[in-house]
């Protein structure tokens, strides 16, 4: 009986996430079949699948997916490291907080798309400008989450550590890092998806490869199925990165359960 219940529960967990995409696919096909919009505006799922197979077969999809993914990952690492390091410094230093916080908040509220063309001029049309765009878009949420995470450590716990004569390093490793970890990982989850956006924004401005470039190319060639294939791949990258951070979160925060 218990085995059957587990089987049903497992099937449900596997099936439920697929339910919404399946419904969307059916609605999509119905909209196309009813001819609400011409097929050049909303192509059929089959046309998109055929395009997917075509660009997968000729290597175009993988080449451009790798370009975006590699830029995204490098940008993510740089942005996360930068955000955490500066965030720690700001959380620990009142003067630095007073000096940098207004600037950080201002920059954070400036859409990266507004200054992305400048980044292309400064760093060239190659991968560097996309990595910088990606790193910048990741940097601010990581920084903010680090500051908030460290500031959220209860004062009573700090007092306890001090009463136990903990060194600064012990304070860092045994109190601050574990206490800030939920917020840091929350920031990392958001950053993983933002990094993809940063990369694509850079590719939209100017690029030689990448899924953003592929979307632009497809749009100027009026190849709507290819646009949708590239969008689908972007969604897959973002979802995969999000899931990987989710796994990391489960491992690192296992002590909380």
């Amino acid at each position: 009986m218990k085995g059957r219940r587990d089987y049903v529960r497992l099937s449900g967990r596997l099936f439920v996430p697929l339910l919404l995409p399946a419904i969307l696919l059916i609605v999509w096909q119905i909209v196309v079949s009813l001819g609400v919009y011409p097929e050049f505006i909303i192509p059929s799922p089959l046309a998109v699948f055929e395009k997917f197979v075509e660009v997968l077969g000729n290597g175009r999809l993988l080449t451009n997916t790798w370009a975006t993914l590699s830029q995204t990952l490098v940008g993510l690492v740089i942005g996360v490291l930068g955000g955490v390091v500066l965030g720690y410094a700001i959380a620990k230093n009142r003067l630095l907080d007073d000096v940098l916080s207004p600037l950080v908040i201002t920059l954070q509220s400036t859409p990266v798309v507004a200054y992305a063309p400048l980044l292309v001029i400064w760093f060239g049309s190659g991968p560097t400008s996309k990595i910088v765009t990606s790193a910048l878009i990741v940097f601010f949420p990581m920084l903010m989450n680090t500051v908030v995470g460290l500031n959220s450590v209860p004062a009573s716990l700090r007092d306890l550590m001090r009463s136990l004569r903990a060194t600064p390093w012990q304070m860092f490793t045994h109190l601050e890092v574990p206490a800030a970890m939920p917020l840091l990982l929350g920031g990392l989850k958001v950053s993983a998806t933002l990094a993809v956006i940063g990369s694509v924004v850079g590719e939209f401005v100017s690029a030689r490869a990448g899924l953003g470039w592929l979307i632009n190319d497809a749009r100027y060639n009026f190849d709507t199925p290819l646009v949708l294939v590239a969008v689908f791949m972007l969604a897959v990258i973002a979802r995969t990165l999000y899931a990987l951070v989710g796994l990391l979160e489960r491992r690192m925060l296992a002590w909380r359960r």
Binding site: Y37, I41, I121, G124, V205, A207, N216, Y220, N221, F222
Partner: protein, 383 residues
């Protein structure tokens, strides 16, 4: 109910049924005109038609919207918009992908793309570009088509140059030496680079060489585009718009100072201090008088006259103040022709060949002639 009362109800009922239809006949047709880029003095014919009420006289209530070209083509193809200013090669690519869009008026008679190279680069001909770094906004759109046609006309291909995608940043990238040459719009970036060079604000660049595409290939450029359904169901709408646009375009060509002044309410940041406005107003009045005395002058005489107007203004104002007026004049050179709006079969065939060579079209259109028409030209309508 009394006899009077029932008559009143009958009139009210008829009014409710037919009133909106009668009102709709008299009300101007509301249309959103799709244009690429951003508000710019290069769209002055539209601003003239709006300011002088030519659209309104034609029964049209026109609102302008800007966006990128593929979006505009799709909106027109889907019938969400009826009219747009779109390039010929985009229209052909779109028709190749099943979009029922049609070109009805060739606004730019000469293709506006060129390659610009600093004189210091030593590039003095298209052949000199071999192996050199050439910047381009991207491998799409008019710039890419123009480059392909220009290289092909000189026995070269894209593989002969080191093509670098730089976005729409040619002046900056050329000035910092990021590329040896760049594909640009001939009526804009060369002037901007030269202006910066004159002010010592362009690195080592002191001047530029310009290689226009139109010297090598007669490609179809920007024009008025609509869709097949509008042509079939509302040809009067297309005629009305084309007629009003044509009238405004002629006036922009004839009197650029007036065109500039009428563009001011639409183009943010267009230089317009009191002195410049006064000088342009004087120039516009003088040009009106000159036109009255010189009706029917030819294309060359109009160009000479425009150059004289610019020379006069240059004696009073610096290049920064006049840069957008110069852009307008350079653009007018691309518009002016013996017969405005006329689009020719040979240009379409050549444009299609270039698109096929670039791989933007997989096969020639079954019926290339269906992509364009001269039926709506005011002359063709006997206006």
């Amino acid at each position: 109910m009394s006899h009077r009362g029932s008559r009143f109800l009958l009139i009210l009922l008829l009014g409710l049924i037919f009133g909106p239809a009668v009102l709709a006949q008299d009300a101007p047709s509301s249309q959103t005109l799709f244009m690429t880029f951003v508000p710019n003095v290069q769209f002055s014919p539209v601003y003239i038609a709006l300011e002088k009420g030519y659209f309104a006289d034609a029964g049209l209530d026109i609102t302008v919207e800007h966006g990128d070209e593929p979006l505009g083509v799709d909106l027109i193809a889907a019938g969400e918009r009826q009219l747009g200013l779109i390039s010929g090669e985009q229209l052909l690519t779109a028709r190749g992908r099943g979009r029922p869009v049609v070109f009805v008026y060739e606004w730019f008679q000469r293709y506006p793309v060129a390659i610009v190279a600093p004189v210091e680069s030593g590039i003095e001909s298209v052949q000199d570009l071999a192996g050199r770094r050439v910047g381009i906004p991207g491998r799409f759109g008019a710039s890419y088509s123009g480059l392909t046609a220009l290289l092909a006309a000189n026995g070269m291909t894209e593989q002969d140059v080191d093509l670098q995608e730089i976005g729409y940043n040619a002046p900056e990238v050329v000035c910092i030496g990021g590329v040896d040459a760049a594909v640009v719009y001939i009526n804009n970036e060369p002037l901007q680079i030269e202006n910066r060079a004159q002010q010592g604000d362009c690195g080592d660049v002191t001047g530029v060489n310009v290689f226009p595409v139109y010297d090598a290939a007669d490609l179809v450029s920007n024009g008025i585009v609509t869709n097949e359904a509008t042509i079939a169901e509302h040809p009067e709408l297309v005629s009305a718009f084309v007629g009003a646009f044509d009238r405004a375009l002629r006036e922009a060509i004839d009197n650029p100072a007036e065109a500039y002044l009428l563009s001011l309410p639409y183009v943010e940041g267009l230089p317009s201090d009191d002195a410049l406005t006064a000088a342009l107003t004087t120039a516009a009045d003088e040009q009106t008088a000159w036109l009255a005395d010189n009706a029917g002058v030819d294309l060359a005489a109009r160009a000479v006259r425009r150059a004289e107007i610019l020379a006069g203004l240059k004696e009073q104002f610096d290049s920064d103040t006049l840069i957008q007026f110069e852009v307008l004049l350079a653009t007018i050179d691309l518009w002016d022709a013996d017969q405005l709006g006329l689009t020719e079969a040979d240009s379409w065939a050549l444009t299609q060949d270039v698109l096929l060579q670039m791989g933007f079209m997989e096969a020639p259109l079954d019926d290339l002639a269906a992509a364009y028409t001269n039926d709506f030209l005011p002359a063709a309508n006997g206006e």
